[in-house]
Amino acid sequence: MSLLLTSLTAALCAAAAPPAPGLPSPPVDAASLVRDADRARGGLAEGITWTVEVTSTEDGSATTTAYLVRARGDDALAEVTAPAHAKGEKLLFSGGALWFIKPGLKKPVAVSTRQKLAGPAAAGDVASTNYARDYAAELVGEDDVGGAAAWRLELKATGPSATYDRIRYWVAKSGRQALKAEFLTVGGDVVKTATFEYDNKLTVAGKPLELISRMTITDAMGEGAVSVVRFGAPKAEAHPASIFTLESAVR
């Protein structure tokens, strides 16, 4: 059940720093590959507004929650638009912390990515990371992922905000988009796998960009619950930093 939150935060937090300009780089630079992939997953320094719909299927029953997401750089604000009873609830991802804000609740609740919200699986953390910031990437090989040639990267945690010790990450050679990720425990077991699709188009800073449209997360442990995250209606929007503060979010 933690998948839902997981997938949402994944969507929220895939922010990336802009690619390093200028210097000619070697044909395949792992770090810049990860930065480009982060960007295609929605981590835009320029700012974006779109809809994100998370459908979790567990024990045969599906739950869908829809959000209107505003993001810029490392910050994101997601507001529930459906179902009706949860309308108005907000998730604010700011400064490395995740806040849950509910109308009527006396105070917002901070959900740090390192805390378990519920259940045995870590929540709010599978992809709540800026990979380029949190991991050191190394190119370890090439694979074919669903008919597309991809680099296989091995991501190793470098900072305390990284949730996993290791991520196995496949980035397409053409388009430099992440195709697949495997999240590993310290022991090297696969906890979750994620696959990504890129059918959204957006013009950012005058350039066309193929953006993530769907992310499917499968729980490798337990009952094999599946979450599908659909991204839609992307709009480039340079949000002011003030909307990502708690003061404005609780209002």
Binding site: K106, Q115, V250
Partner: protein
């Protein structure tokens, strides 16, 4: 041989000093056993009360089959629905041994004060049932100090406070909730909590004590984010140090709202007599299964529901058993020694008795009567001594912390009549057995051999 006892009594008067020494060692041994046993009885009762009543496991905990193991991971699938609860309660209603039934929800999540959050593990209770359980005579007898909150009153005393909750002292401390509802009502602090506290400035919730509310966030059983406000009305110590920093108790209704369900995790069943637990566990399991709810019924000493009880009892039993064995060994050795010496002195007399027509069995019987008589008298003295010491200790007001318990309870020794009787029926035959060991060889010897034994 009805005159055997008289003869035995006379013979006891024979070597007064030695028999006094032997009697004293039996008396002290028995006294020691009674006191250790009294301690064990006290601790067992404390552990049981703690598990059954304070932790509200009940004498029997009823879970859906698989619920104990997988209820946390998959609560929606392994909880007891409202309909299940009705079926189970109707079975329990027809069971006269059942005194009280509680419904409980357990769940985890994050507790926040507006700045920081701390993981919690919560138990939902029905406040009225909880109040009755904690006021139970068993609790009042075994550990009344642990049934009272450290500060504040039980949930049932706050029917008008929405989301009244009890926090473990450690959790309250982590959340900065140093002042509870009653204390804030008595002296409201100046200034009110900001809607969104500036956590960067006042780190660690330094001003979290301006109110007593705490936000609980969790995923509902359907998997969506949820949160409720609760109001801290009392603080308590958990029975285990490990849970002290993250336990809270609130009403079943509040937790059901948080997890968006009307189901419960388990039912706690309180019996009039703890000794019925095992028998009823099996019987109720069948009856409830037959009523259409596949359940498992766990007695309180099952390590899966009462790990504290089940984990501590073997330690206690082996400790007490070990000391008991030592004491028993001392008693046996002293009797063997005394009887061996006494038989050595009386070898020729034994031969004479045999010559007069006493059979081997009759001679042995005489010696066993002697040891039995000595043991019975010593047990009487030892009992008086033990009761005196126990009374003195119980009036001294000494306290102790049972293993793993943050608080302390009164150090009481409660040697029950049943315990004393059991120990007496253990030690008297033990004394007789020791005498048998010492005398057996003598009675087997030939009459002539006995008569001719040279005695210095």
């Amino acid at each position: 041989m009805k005159h055997g006892w008289r003869l035995a009594a006379r013979n006891l008067g024979r070597n007064r000093r030695r028999n006094l020494a032997t009697g004293a060692s039996i008396a002290l041994g028995f006294c020691g056993l009674v006191l250790i046993g009294g301690y064990a009885v006290r601790v067992e009762r404390f552990l049981r009360t703690n598990t059954v009543y304070l932790q509200q496991v009940g004498h029997l905990a009823i879970y859906r089959d698989g619920g104990l193991e997988r209820g946390v991971a998959q609560p929606a699938r392994f909880a007891l629905s409202a309909d299940d609860q009705r079926r189970i309660t109707s079975v329990l209603g027809g069971t006269p041994e059942v005194e009280l039934v509680g419904r409980h929800l357990i769940g985890m999540g994050l507790a926040g004060n507006g700045c920081t959050t701390v993981p919690f593990s919560a138990l939902g209770v029905e406040p009225e049932v909880q109040a009755r359980v904690l006021a139970h005579p068993e609790v009042q007898a075994a550990s009344p100090e642990l049934a009272r909150p450290l500060r504040g009153e039980l949930l049932a005393r706050y029917p008008n406070v929405a989301g009244a909750a009890a926090l473990s002292a450690g959790l309250a401390e982590l959340l900065g909730k140093t002042r509870i509802h009653d204390e804030l009502a008595a002296s409201p602090p100046n200034g009110s909590a900001a809607l969104a506290p500036d956590c960067a400035v006042r780190t660690g919730g330094a001003r979290a004590d301006v109110d007593a509310n705490v936000q609980l966030a969790a995923l509902t059983w359907a998997g969506t984010m949820s949160a409720v406000d609760v109001e801290v009305v009392n603080l308590f110590h958990t029975p285990l140090a490990e849970t002290e920093d993250g336990t809270l108790v609130t009403s079943l209704a509040t937790l059901q709202q948080l997890y968006a369900t009307d189901a419960v995790s388990y039912l706690s069943v309180y019996l009039r007599d703890a000794r019925d637990a095992h028998r009823l566990a099996a019987a109720l399991e069948r009856a409830i299964d037959a009523a259409g709810v596949p359940v498992r019924v766990y007695p309180f000493d099952d390590e899966r529901v009462g790990p504290y009880y089940a984990g501590t009892m073997p330690f206690l039993t082996s400790l007490v058993g070990f000391i008991g064995l030592l004491v028993a060994a001392v008693v046996v050795l002293s009797i063997v020694n005394a009887m061996t010496l006494s038989m050595l002195e009386r070898t020729r007399e034994l031969g004479m008795l045999r010559a007069l027509g006493f059979s081997r069995g009759q001679v042995l019987g005489l010696c066993l009567r002697e040891a039995t008589l000595l043991a019975v008298m010593a047990v009487g003295v030892g009992l008086a001594l033990a009761l005196t010491i126990a009374t003195m200790i119980n009036h001294s007001g000494a306290r102790f912390s049972p293993p793993g318990v943050p608080g302390s309870i009164l150090f009481l020794l409660t040697p029950t009549p049943a315990l004393c009787a059991a120990l007496a029926t253990l030690i008297v035959p033990l004394a007789a057995g020791a005498a048998w060991l010492a005398v057996r060889k003598k009675t087997r010897a030939s009459v002539v051999g006995l008569l001719h034994e040279q005695v210095s």
